[in-house]
Symmetry: C2
Subunit: 335 residues, 2 copies
Amino acid sequence: MGTVAVTMVEVWRGGLLESLHTGHGVVCDASGQVRHAWGDPGAVIFPRSSCKMLQALPLVESGAGAGLSPRQLALACASHQGAAVHVEAVSRWLGDLGLRDGDLRCGTEVSRDSDLRLAMIRAGEEPCQVHNNCSGKHAGFLTLNRHLKGGAEYVDIAHPVQVAARAAFEEVTGVDSPGYGIDGCSAPNFATTVQGLAHAMARFAVAGGGSGARERAMVALRDAMMAHPDLVAGEGRACTELMRAMGGRVAIKTGAEAVFVAMIPDLGLGVAIKITDGATRASECAIAAILVALGVLDAGHPATRRRLGAVLENRAGLAVGSVEKARGFCEGRLG
Amino acid sequence: MGTVAVTMVEVWRGGLLESLHTGHGVVCDASGQVRHAWGDPGAVIFPRSSCKMLQALPLVESGAGAGLSPRQLALACASHQGAAVHVEAVSRWLGDLGLRDGDLRCGTEVSRDSDLRLAMIRAGEEPCQVHNNCSGKHAGFLTLNRHLKGGAEYVDIAHPVQVAARAAFEEVTGVDSPGYGIDGCSAPNFATTVQGLAHAMARFAVAGGGSGARERAMVALRDAMMAHPDLVAGEGRACTELMRAMGGRVAIKTGAEAVFVAMIPDLGLGVAIKITDGATRASECAIAAILVALGVLDAGHPATRRRLGAVLENRAGLAVGSVEKARGFCEGRLG
């Protein structure tokens, strides 16, 4: 996977290159035509959380999610940071279903929101499954499961919820998945190619002209993400800050091990990247570079500059280095 | 730096390669002869904390550290995790010097020891500079500074403490440093080559036959590290666990951005590696692979298996992947 990857990100210190990150990336249109590519478009990757909007398609298409608000749909696509706003919303959602924390199968996770995390430590409270960054996706799975009348173990590979997720994933990526892994939240995560993932994002980007259930579901999920960037991740996070910086006109999503995707309705394009070593600092820098080069993100916006040319500060608060787009990667405007 | 790096570590999930890490590495003897190399031995790197024993040489050579115990010398070479044992020892050391936390220049850092960190949060206590993983190194700098009668700003590049550190660093690596960066703890960190760093480690490995101040300092620092692995890092950490697994016969040290070094007295060899992307999971796996291949670390030891073939567990505790030595890297015994 690494041999044909290109250097996308460099980490500098004291005027010397300290570390670097290589990756694969594709910008593609809804017909599947590759407009720009770096590295190997056919590289097989796990999209991890970057494909949550694909996993949520059956929830909306089936009608199971008919009563859900855009806020809930945004949470279904989210890797939220377990702040109070996320935890309360998912808890209410479970309550609406007549379910509770123990019905989730995502596992517990310490809240990534420092205010809530510190408050819980001080109060001696243990983290629950709703604090897991994937709890919104799992509330969506449980909502679909009620509709499908499946058993309680909704993350099993053969469970109707996951069978539906896989079918939607393969249809929209246009790639028969070569395999699956178990994600951090215990749900199956289906492998695909960087190009397949970018193609799926382009289909989301152009959705809106047709009237089929899938197309309407794509619009609902995409627009929910763009309308509620605070729910898709959280304060200070790349997805939230960069979506705000783009004025709600682009939906983006990160995934573990340095995947990042974008759907750009104004251009009818989808983007997918994977940093080969799995470093999030690099995927955030590289997706920002691509969005700037495509003309949809302001290079000078503070949210951009925190990822693209990010200043590294040491423990005394001194500027000691930076995370930069690699020389030669994404130079100039991508036509 | 990345073009000739070799793939050292692979991250697997669901039977598919999810991420990989490339790097440079050298095993060398005290004459500077390269016995084994991967990637580019001449790659320029920042050793970061892996060179703390080099930075501590002037402390011992000058006689400034004559009254220090092996425990203090181990702390001078440490990236400790700010557990009670480390914080108390460094605080006592400062007290012995008639100095206090505010005399350190390393910056504050939240303790990496979960017991102490949680206790401090519950008690509403703010982290101090002694909690910084480099506070032992800085206590050593302050001890040398008292001897040299330098000013308070002992991390300035032109300060006698840093001038002495640079001279020792360049002499023992055998390389004129091509530049420096400012480290996480605000001290200058001098760049060198992977081969230069391995050569320095080999010199430490064979020290003991001569009677010069430098050789005696090398022996004192190396033996202090091997005798007190708990002080060099902390419970659960790679340096501590792997040094224990090797029965105190090898000294190893990690550095930020995925540097790792080893000094092996029994073989008269030094090792240095740098993972190009800066990922610690990979540097720990790769150094373990090299130490196993050199015959000084048991591949089956639990401490080894937590780094080499480490099982990745998800939030529900399921085994979902592993961090493996790359196929073709360090196969068989390194003669």
